[in-house]
């Protein structure tokens, strides 16, 4: 059965769109429930005498945590699909179960960490605990839903476009695991900078790195009153979140696009000619290398621009 090329590329573009949404919500969720690297400051604050009203969600780094929720969602979706449920029901139910696990882990993490800081007089604020569960669950649901949908489409890509030979060989839970780790690693590397450097230390001067003496002395007062995570997510949603989404979307775009372009140019499609396999791989590799070199040049230009425009450090 020949592959319909247009359907194949259409499903690929849908995956890219889902990836963009997934990583944006992943970053916002890790801002709503303070997780991973900037959380070290939230942990440090009571130790330097700054009692706070932040949600201290310390479930490891974002990569294993997202691997957990997405894999649980993937397994539940897989169980439902194997019983004959339609994907449009199976995937959201899986995501809901994944998010239930997420909320359970968040509660134990926040309560456990705050209790272990008894000597620094950090109380457990019940309104912080109850009030952040919903934002965490909803943001996380969006991310988990999109990742599970990506895993489903990829493990059935060939079937959806005409020939099951093009399905990804990994099983659905395994694909959800892989993308969960990747989305967590990316969200932790890009979006957390905006939260950690900019929003957590909002009352320090803009335009310089945050010095070691500032560590622990996070901004605890908001525009009006005491700050909680709900004030932070709204800020990071304007820069950090979309940038992170863009990162993952572009990565998925390059990954899938260069493989498909390689297959198309080498005439591997639409009938999956075995003889054209090697040249399809070669073209994919060359396209990827070229894109990487363009990015290295892009970084050179960016750093040079920043050095010229911002100039040397002024002040003491």
């Amino acid at each position: 059965m020949p592959i319909e090329i247009a359907m194949l590329f259409a499903w690929m573009l849908l995956i890219v769109f889902l990836a963009l949404v997934a990583c944006m919500f992943e970053d916002l969720e890790s801002d709503v429930g303070s997780q991973s690297n900037p959380n070290s400051q939230v942990q440090l604050a009571p130790q330097v005498g700054q009692v706070h009203r932040f949600f201290n969600k310390a479930i490891s780094g974002e990569a294993p945590a997202y691997a957990l929720y997405c894999t649980v969602a993937g397994v539940i979706a897989w169980v439902l699909l194997s019983k004959g449920a339609h994907p449009i029901i199976a995937i959201p139910i899986g995501a809901v179960v994944g998010e239930a696990v997420h909320v359970i882990f968040s509660v134990t993490a926040h309560v456990g960490r705050t209790t272990a800081q008894k000597r620094f007089e950090q109380p457990i604020y019940l309104d912080v605990l109850y009030g952040h569960i919903m934002p965490i669950a909803t943001h996380g649901f969006m991310a988990t839903l999109c990742i599970t949908a990506i895993a489903y489409i990829q493990s059935n890509l060939g079937t959806l476009s005409g020939n099951p030979g093009l399905d990804h060989p990994f099983a659905l839970p395994m694909l959800a695991f892989i993308w969960g780790i990747t989305v967590g690693a990316i969200g932790s590397s890009t979006g957390d900078i905006h939260y950690g450097t900019e929003r957590e230390f909002q009352d320090r001067p803009f335009g310089e790195g945050k010095r070691v003496v500032y560590h622990g002395k996070i901004t605890r007062y908001a525009d009006c009153g005491v700050r909680t995570q709900k004030d932070i997510a709204a800020f990071c949603a304007k820069f950090g979140g979309p940038c992170t989404g863009l990162t993952f979307g572009v990565i998925i775009l390059f990954e899938n696009w260069r493989t498909l372009v390689g297959m198309q140019v080498a005439r591997y499609l639409p009938n999956l000619e075995a003889a054209a396999g090697d040249s399809a791989a070669v073209i994919g590799i060359v396209v990827g290398l070229v894109i990487g070199v363009v990015m290295i040049v892009g970084n050179l230009v960016l750093v040079r621009w920043a050095r010229k425009r911002y100039g040397t450090f002024v002040g003491e």
């Binding site: 959380n39 070290s40 897989w78």
Partner: protein, 288 residues
């Protein structure tokens, strides 16, 4: 993720047997009971789940023991290391079982060969502990790192093998491959076991951390794992116990849910009592 909080205090060794058991007693009890349960894959899933919970709590204890001295890269890494070894060890275990079965036929004690995988992985853990701690090589200089890594290798393998046995109903290579590995279930086993090992200590990290409280979280996460495994067993597996595995799976879900609920409520209540204070809302203070 890792923020030290004051000097490390050695815990007093309890005299005699205590509830919860102290570190050394827990290791021996968990190791022995899990190994014995492993040898009989025909047992109902609930009993295997008890062995699984013991193995995971043992792993959590080792993670806690080693991380107390500051690993430098965070608590999660050593938990993931344990389960990474667990996967390789479990594969060796089920391969050994298949070899024994093909040599001597289907004997009742054939699954005992899986313990060979556990021991081999303990050796690999010991080697990596020696390489990491020896000052001429990596030189982490963490006390008892070798013992910790050996225990982690063994606990990880035991946990993985017990989960294979729950989902696939037997420890033979072909059956496990078909029912637990090719359909991707091994991914959820891997990551939830990682979490059961490192999340408790990570979630309770701080100067006022108390071992009994941390252990409750470990049992709670294991209960959650049992619920997920029970759903899978009820839906797709065919164990030899009960009506095509559905009864087995449903019992496991109920067991896991009860364990989870009891431990979760107990932990949260304990934390509310032991925190500095638990208030509905309030202002914040700055302590100079």
């Amino acid at each position: 993720m890792t923020v030290g909080g004051g000097p490390v205090v050695e815990e007093e060794k309890a005299e005699g047997f205590t509830i919860p058991p102290d570190v050394k007693q827990l290791g021996i009890i968990a190791g022995v009971i899990s190994s014995v349960i492993l040898i009989f894959p025909g047992l109902p899933a609930v009993i295997k789940a008890v062995g699984l919970i013991l193995a995971l709590v043992w792993g959590m204890d080792s993670v806690r023991k080693t991380s107390k001295y500051g690993l430098g890269t965070g608590v999660p890494s050593i938990g993931v290391l344990a389960m990474g070894y667990g996967i390789v060890g479990a594969l060796v275990g089920i391969a050994l079982v298949s070899k024994v079965v093909s040599k001597v036929g289907d004997s009742v004690l054939a699954p005992a060969a899986a313990l060979g995988g556990v021991l081999l992985m303990g050796v690999v853990g010991l080697v990596s502990g020696v390489l990491s701690n020896h000052e001429k090589i990596i030189g982490m200089k963490i006390p008892k790192l070798e013992q910790g890594m050996t225990e982690l290798g063994m606990a990880g393998t035991l946990a993985m093998l017990l989960q294979f046995s729950i989902v696939a109903g037997s420890l033979e290579f072909g059956v496990v491959l078909d029912k637990a590995i090719s359909n991707g279930l091994i991914a959820v086993m891997f990551i939830l076991s990682c979490m059961a090992m490192f999340h408790p200590y990570n979630a309770c990290l701080g100067p006022d951390e108390r071992r009994p409280r941390t252990m409750i979280v470990s049992v709670e996460v294991s209960g959650l794992l049992c619920v997920i495994l029970g759903i899978v067993v009820a839906a797709v597996a065919t164990t030899t116990w009960g009506v095509s595995g559905v009864v087995d799976g449903v019992l496991l879900v109920i067991f896991g849910a009860v364990v989870w609920l009891v431990c979760f409520v107990k932990f949260v209540r304990m934390c509310f009592e032991e925190a500095y204070s638990t208030v509905g809302t309030g202002m914040i203070k700055t302590i100079e």
